[in-house]
């Protein structure tokens, strides 16, 4: 359990508590090294890396921010300042300014000499401290300050178990991000991906920064196409453990799963409807791969497409009214859109001879896909209103794009020197991240929803 309450600007005022949220930690060996393209950051470099994120390039119009090291955090197993700094830096939207030479470093508003900090160039600063309590828990207090106005923009206090301060750091980074950009932060979200080791495939769930990685399924046969339920409690995926493609829905909290489609032929490409009630799936039981819907328990199977071509990779629009999909009905694989009941099919992509893997942006105004051009498979986006394609990557073999739930970044699979890696790019193409893993090969990323907690 995390207890959170607002910290008032004036300590005497009392603000309503933020709703507390239960947190289920994923077990497993954590820790990762954290090379970030900023020398100013002193970041922990722990052993046994699972995923490592490296920023390439930077965004324009970065917001300058000074994060003052939190007071008394040195004794915590998971110090906060480094995590908050790394989150904000990784987004590409902030320019982290070092705290400079002013001493002592403030941890409460009363200790801030606004004029001095302002003179040093700090416009927005973060201060905070941790207080160890007798019950073994720790209180984390943080504030976001506007130095020019000498005022507080945000202030919260959290009381958590000592080993959960990392989650609080992500929460703080989310609050700062949202306050200063007007968009929700995604630092508290989770990702899923498939790691391949010799003779073993593992479906992993990790924090969005790659930490706390834990596999939820391991098997010698391949696992593909993980897809988060909209509430983040379940993941649908395709496993070949029975020597053919079968769709499972896996409950993360209960650690249990069920088969939702195991018909003749292949069962694949699960996609959740926005209400989490329905899955779009692809079955070949009636002769060729076609799109069907079924309830998340496998019942109420209905065929949606009726073609004699491959129809696959459904993606529901956020309003639940449309489905994007890949079809080769025009002689080459292209992206089409239809209403959820299968009517009104319209071809969307025309450029090139291979456009696949459509994924709706969270705002429904654009979609990401993979386009082949000159023998390269690149990540691209297309805006529905302009129908303009923007190529975002120049990889040889990029695939499996997945939007961050705020639509700002895309995570995707790439190949570097014959090895599968994950990478991320901002939806404007300016910021890139390369994510490597200790596994032989990682692929099939899926970014989980906002606000799902743990």
């Amino acid at each position: 359990m995390t207890n959170a309450r607002r910290l008032p600007s004036e300590p005497s005022l009392d603000f309503p508590d933020e709703p507390s949220r239960s947190r289920r930690r994923l077990l497993g060996s954590l820790a990762a090294s954290y090379p970030i393209g900023m020398a100013a950051l002193a970041l922990p470099n722990w052993a046994a890396a699972q995923l490592t994120i490296e920023i390439i390039g930077g965004g324009a119009d970065q917001i300058p921010i000074t994060i003052v090291p939190f007071g008394a955090e040195e004794h915590l197993p998971q110090p906060l300042t480094a995590v908050i700094s790394a989150d904000l830096a990784r987004s590409g939207r902030f320019r982290l300014q070092p705290p400079g030479s002013l001493r002592p470093l403030p941890t409460e508003p009363a200790e801030v000499d606004y004029k001095a900090w302002s003179a040093q160039g700090a416009q927005t600063m973060v201060i905070g401290r941790t207080i160890e309590r007798n019950d073994g828990k720790v209180e984390v207090r943080f504030r976001l300050l506007d130095t020019a106005k000498a005022s507080q923009l945000l202030g919260f206090s959290y009381t958590v178990a000592k080993n959960q301060t990392r989650a609080i750091a992500h929460k703080i980074a989310d609050l700062i991000y949202e306050k200063l950009t007007g968009e929700p932060g995604v630092f508290s979200t989770r990702i899923a991906y498939v790691a391949r080791n010799p003779n073993r495939f593992e479906l992993h769930v990790a924090d969005a920064d790659g930490f706390n990685s834990q596999f939820i399924l391991a098997h010698r046969e391949p696992i593909i196409s993980p897809a988060w339920s909209p509430d983040g409690s379940r993941i649908a995926y395709v496993s070949f453990e029975q020597r053919k493609a079968i769709i499972f829905v896996h409950d993360l909290v209960a650690g249990q799963r069920r088969i939702v489609a195991n018909y003749d032929g292949s069962n694949s490409a699960p996609a959740w409807s926005p209400d989490g009630q329905t899955l779009g799936v692809v079955l070949s039981k009636d002769g060729i791969s076609q799109i069907y819907t079924l309830r998340a328990d496998g019942s109420n199977l209905a065929r949606i497409t009726n073609s004699d071509s491959i129809d696959t990779e459904p993606s529901f629009s956020p309003d639940g009214k449309h489905v994007l999909f890949t079809s080769d009905r025009g002689g080459s694989p292209q992206i089409y859109r239809m209403r959820t009941n299968g009517s009104g099919v319209e071809r969307i992509t025309f450029e090139g001879s291979y456009n696949v893997t459509p994924r709706y942006a969270p705002d429904g105004r654009a979609f990401a896909f993979i386009q082949r051009a000159q023998g390269r498979y690149s990540l691209a986006t297309m805006d529905f209103s302009s129908r303009q394609t923007q190529i975002l990557t120049d990889g040889q073999l990029d695939g499996s794009p997945t939007f961050a739930p705020n639509g700002r970044m895309l995570l995707y699979a790439s190949i570097v020197r014959g090895r599968g890696v994950l990478a991320a790019v901002s939806s404007d193409g300016r910021i890139r991240q390369k994510i490597t893993a200790s596994a032989q090969d990682v692929r099939e990323p899926a970014w989980g929803p906002l606000g799902a907690g743990h």
Partner: protein
């Protein structure tokens, strides 16, 4: 029989092209047509090049196989026990039998069973017709370029095309199961034409004999 198979191959190709004439969306018809044309030209060129490469790789593979093939000299008279009425398992393992060939190879994004595999498919159809208790899995595979899910569907289509060829030759549906591994179980690792050609493949796997 040969003619029939050519017919099947052609029908499969035509089925694949049959929907190509469908009009694109009415919006921006002109541009769209031009783009589509150049896209199709590019696709056609690429296919021709890859078909060429596939044939080359196939020839190389056969040469390699021939070189690696153990030398098996049947003793005079031994062919009698390996004749058409022999044990299916031993027939399947006889390197001199067309039944020892189990794989169909494809060009990029192609799924039709090429003419060169006719005699092999015929031999397997005959074996399955004559041994109703035999069951075969057709496992479709793809090279690892492009979408995993599209490749899974393509691998299924490849396996289904082989299954159709067998059922048209009189093999009972219940004797054949077609599955796809897409690009997930590459036989040859690597990002080169040789590996890609090897991995665009359907395998006939006899249940209980091949494991």
């Amino acid at each position: 029989m040969k003619r029939l198979l050519i017919g099947i191959g052609l029908a499969v190709i035509l089925a694949g092209c049959g929907t190509g004439g469908k009009k694109p969306a009415a919006v921006e018809q002109k541009d769209v047509f031009a783009q589509q044309q150049s896209a199709q030209d590019e696709a056609a060129r690429q296919r021709a090049a890859e078909e060429e490469a596939r044939k080359r790789a196939e020839a190389e593979r056969r040469a390699r196989e021939a070189a690696e093939q153990p030398v098996v000299q049947p003793l005079p008279g031994s062919s009698v026990s390996q004749g058409e009425l022999g044990d299916p398992a031993s027939q399947l393992k006889d390197p001199n039998s067309p039944l020892s060939k189990r794989s169909v190879y494809y060009g990029f994004d192609m799924y039709n069973v090429a003419d060169e595999y006719q005699s092999m498919i015929e031999a397997h159809a005959r074996l399955l017709r004559e041994n109703k208790n035999l069951r075969v899995r057709v496992e479709g595979n793809c090279d690892d370029r492009g979408s995993r899910e599209y490749n899974l569907a393509l691998g299924q289509r490849r396996a289904d095309a082989v299954r159709r060829a067998l059922t048209l030759l009189g093999v009972a549906e219940r004797q054949i199961e077609s599955v796809s591994f897409g690009a997930e179980k590459p036989k040859m690792q690597g990002s080169n034409e040789e590996a890609w050609a090897e991995n665009r493949r359907s395998d006939l796997v006899y249940v209980g004999i091949d494991g």
